[in-house]
Amino acid sequence: MKAGVVVFPGSNCDHDVYHVLKHVLGQETSFLWHQDDDLQGSDLVVLPGGFAYGDYLRAGALAALSPVMGAVRRHAEAGGLVLGICNGFQVLLEAGLLPGAMRRNQNLRFLCRDVYLKTERNDLPFTWKLPAGKVMRIPIAHGEGNYEDSPERLDALEANGQVVFRYVTPEGARADDDPQWNPNGAARGIAGICNPGGNVLGMMPHPERCSEPILGNTDGLALLASAVEAGSRVLLETAR
């Protein structure tokens, strides 16, 4: 299994997710340059957080047009794993690989703090190792995480089982209208969604920032470990 972390100009969580994949999970991992239309054989592609192209125009809008995104799109269409974290999620939305759009946080301010997430799909390559029913504590750090789409499309998203994570209370209860728990005002408390095939996941919170005991929180590690092991399993199946 090979993991690739895309580096756009302005990506700034690229080293963080590389560190967890390579040094914490021991996976072969490489950086993928935005100008290259080549994923170097990566089974798992991560679009990291940051401010690609300074978030100028709109978050993710310019990065979505990078040469590497053509390769990411083909990888996704072939069923390959793609994980977009924070700015990476915004890029996936702008590239049309996931539905919906981001607005600025409801209070119009950048927010960096812990939030609580409930996982609605434990059967995905990205979530199968997450303990069912467990509420994850996980950091966010973004200015534009207020997910939005039309009511009909949101209904469809829910009906298709594409809502993967929602912001909840520490006890796991929905609190969509409470900024204490739904920090950015996202529609229906949506924090992460996947494509219909379940192989492309976008999420605002940062699992790589809570994957080591010394940082006081390891709730994110199971998510990245899920993706890594799922990548390996796909490989095994393909080999067979």
């Binding site: 100009p9 302005g10 700034n12 969580c13 080293h15 963080d16 560190h19 967890v20 957080g49 940051g50 401010f51 192209y53 300074g54 978030d55 100028y56 301010r109 950048f110 927010l111 960096c112 703090r113 950091p139 750090a141 200015g143 940062h206 790589e208 920032r209 994957s211 080591e212 010394i214 940082l215 006081g216």
Partner: protein, 735 residues
């Protein structure tokens, strides 16, 4: 295309851009002729207080700057200390006060941008920022928008760069109503053998210009920062630079990559006084000369004069000296990152800077007389005539109800939770943050080692106003205490010395005394000053700010296992008060915030006692005995005790021999610690051996803070105190 008409050179026009008559004469003597307008502008910038340190130099020499860990002391873009495992830490703090008051968002953005360039110019990857902010009273004119703009600016720059803002401090005082302070600290790490310098050498080596193009923004920013404010200051908005963190992020990555090629001799960012200071300082340090081909400077719009090019403070630009013949390699790296590179000249051995433009010579000046040999002043110094009156011991009213006094203090912006600010800063990116904002010191992981880095910044301006020497020493002592609370041994200190107009004898006295205090404490603690910054002329309409010598101290924690928090963690833990309690209220928060009284000499600073306390705390942490350690500082015992309850809403029951107002006394050299019951004996024994007064005062638990003192008891539910504390700042800001 517009070419501005340049004024004629005269003593009067020199004055108008900041050079006084003696300086103008001195320049004429150096040149042996009348300078032209470009030469005058260059000299004005280099001899500005901001660039030359002409009023502060004689005092700055008093700082201890050497020590076993010091790799590079003051004089470079930033200081460098050894932190073990083959790593060095590169850090510095700098002010951006004047621009931030004129235009808070861009001013604070470019403050952060400037300090970060100082760090990566040295070859280090920045891994942490802190910000020390001083605002006026929240109801003062423009103050809410200044606070909002500064916080957004600090946040937007660091957040986009992906460098966590892990700590800092925010204070409020009426002395800043007309002159806020924005001090930015940054720290980077590099391998020991990867440190770069800014000394131009090797005649024939090309000068490369990298980054943003040069425009007309920020012209004479350095001179503006060396003047006081008046009613006209609003017109100085065009001297404020405009920041672009995205370009800086690219510049950071490209520079670090370019440095690894081995093709760079020296590198310096274009900060204050832009192209002038970067090139002249590099050549001045290297004892070389340079030739600049101004026709090759990348311009944002055509028509800039040599004067404008040399004095523009357009942001996100660097100059580097390449090894001759290896320009191509460097250009490739920068182009891959989408950055513009231009060869704008070369190093010479003439000792002169020769500026060529449009086929002629735009300037020809000797470098060292303008840089290394710039004017140095010993300004008149005078102790304030009313010092005895200022030091008169204040009458201290007793609180009718200590609980109510505590609640009122927690509701002030001074003591309120700063989460409204710190949640706007990314403090977890780079995945090193073990303890972020809100603790005594920020704690960062040094990846690949068991060790950690700790950092804190401190100063109490009210103490410094009443006794700058004590205030200076207190800032250093508090910083060391904060580091000790997380088990860190200090390795170095940087400072940002914010003062009023040094041409006023009282301000020069404050400056001299503060430096003495800082130096005495640093010597006693064995902490070298490795970098720093002076900001004078912080006055508006003749009113100076309180002297505000902010210090930032960095320490190493040998092993992160067992580092305590500033908060109570476990019910049943025993609470121990360390240090000696006295009744000290000079310059105290209790008198200032509850009785509107600023009076008296600040608390005594016993350097030996501070050292004993710090050593004790470090050894207790190293032995893994403590779950909580929190120092006592502004607001005294009761404030610290309440703060320790907040993070987990855990209560405590204590009995102390402090009565009434003494619960808020600000005696130095104290801390509260909490440990498991089984560790209590060893903790008390260790304190006794260390010669630190210690007594068990109670136990952690429940959800009520219960304090018994002098036969009286008060109880306050922690949730209620927390509510007051956590909502006070947004409320005060009207949000």
């Amino acid at each position: 295309m517009t070419v501005l008409q340049e004024p004629l050179v005269s003593a009067e026009t020199a004055r108008s851009i900041g050079l006084n008559r003696e300086e103008f004469e001195r320049l004429k003597k150096i040149l042996g002729r009348e300078p032209n307008w470009t030469e005058l502008g260059i000299t004005s910038a280099l001899w500005s207080e901001h660039c030359s340190y002409k009023s502060s130099k004689i005092y700055l020499r008093e700082f201890p700057t050497e020590g076993p860990h010091v790799v590079q002391g003051p004089g470079e873009n930033a200081g460098v200390v050894d932190i073990g495992y083959g790593w060095v830490a590169v850090f510095k703090m700098e002010s951006h006060n004047h621009p931030s008051f004129i235009e808070p968002y861009q001013g604070s953005m470019t403050g952060v941008g400037g300090i970060l360039r100082d760090i990566f110019t040295m070859g280090a990857r920045p891994i942490a920022c802190m910000d020390a902010l001083r605002f006026g009273e929240i109801d003062a004119p423009r103050m809410r928008s200044l606070i909002d703009g500064v916080v957004r600016g600090v946040g937007d720059y660091g957040n986009c760069m992906g460098i966590p803002t892990v700590g800092g401090e925010t204070g409020f005082h009426r002395c800043y109503n007309g002159n806020i302070l924005v001090n930015a600290f940054a720290l980077g790490i590099a391998r020991h053998d990867e440190v770069f310098h800014a000394r131009a050498s090797g005649a024939g080596n090309p000068l490369l210009y990298v980054g943003s193009r040069t425009g007309r923004d920020g012209i004479h920013g350095a001179t503006m920062a060396s003047e006081s404010f008046d009613a006209e200051s609003e017109q100085k908005r065009p001297t404020v630079q405009v920041g672009d963190p995205f370009t800086e992020k690219i510049l950071l990555e490209a520079c670090l990559e370019a440095m690894r090629t081995g093709a760079i001799v020296a590198i310096q960012d274009m900060g204050a006084a832009g192209l002038t200071s970067s090139t002249f300082e590099m050549a001045g340090r290297g004892g070389t000369g340079l030739r600049l081909d101004l026709d090759h400077v990348p311009l944002r719009q055509p028509g800039l004069t040599p004067y404008e090019m040399m004095l523009s403070e357009s942001q996100e630009r660097m100059v580097l000296v390449a090894k001759k013949g290896r320009e191509e390699e460097l250009e490739q790296v920068f182009r891959r990152w989408g950055l513009e590179v231009a060869k704008i000249g070369e190093v010479t051995d003439t000792g002169h800077a020769v500026l060529l433009w449009h086929g002629g010579t735009a300037a020809d000046i000797p470098i060292r007389p303008l840089t290394e040999e710039a004017p140095v002043y010993r300004r008149p110094v005078a102790e304030p005539s009313d010092l005895a009156e200022r030091w008169r011991a204040p009458e201290v009213p007793q609180p009718a109800d200590p609980r109510q006094a505590l609640e009122r203090l927690l509701a002030t912006p001074e003591f309120a939770s700063k989460a409204w600010i710190t949640t706007q800063y990314d403090h977890t990116v780079r995945t090193n943050t073990v303890q972020g904002p809100g603790g005594d010191a920020a704690v960062l992981l040094l990846k690949g080692t068991p060790a950690g880095l700790a950092m804190t910044c401190d100063v109490n301006p009210v103490y410094c106003y009443f006794d700058p020497r004590r205030g200076g020493a207190q800032a250093v002592a508090e910083a060391m205490r904060n580091l000790a609370c997380v088990g860190a041994e200090p390795v170095g200190l940087t400072d940002c010395l914010n003062f009023g107009n040094p041409e006023r004898p009282e301000v020069s006295w404050q400056f001299r005394e503060a430096i003495r205090g800082i130096s005495e404490a640093c010597r006693a603690f064995g902490v070298p000053v490795i970098s720093g910054n002076v900001s004078f002329y912080n006055e508006t309409e003749g009113a100076s700010i309180y002297p505000t010598p902010a210090v930032a101290m960095v320490g190493v924690i040998p092993d992160l296992a067992g580092v305590p928090e500033a908060s109570f963690r476990n019910a049943g833990d025993r609470i121990v008060l360390l240090g000696e309690d006295r009744s000290e209220f000079g310059g105290s928060a209790y008198l200032r915030l509850l009785h509107d009284l600023e009076q008296g000499r600040p608390p005594a600073v016993d350097l030996d006692a501070e050292l004993r306390l710090a050593r004790l705390l470090r050894s207790l942490v190293a032995r893994g005995l403590l779950s909580t350690a929190h120092d006592l500082s502004e607001g005294g015992f009761l404030i610290s005790l309440a703060e320790a309850c907040f993070s987990r809403l855990l209560g405590a029951r204590v009995e102390v021999p402090l009565a009434g107002a003494d619960l808020f006394s600000e005696s130095q050299g104290r801390a509260i610690v909490a440990c498991a019951a089984a560790a209590l004996g060893p903790v008390l024994r260790a304190a006794e051996e260390a010669g630190v007064p210690a007594r068990e005062i109670g136990e952690v638990g429940g959800d009520v803070l219960e304090v018994r003192s002098a036969g009286e008891t008060f109880r306050a539910p922690v949730a209620g105190l927390h509510e007051i504390w956590s909502t006070a700042l947004p409320k005060a800001l009207g949000l």
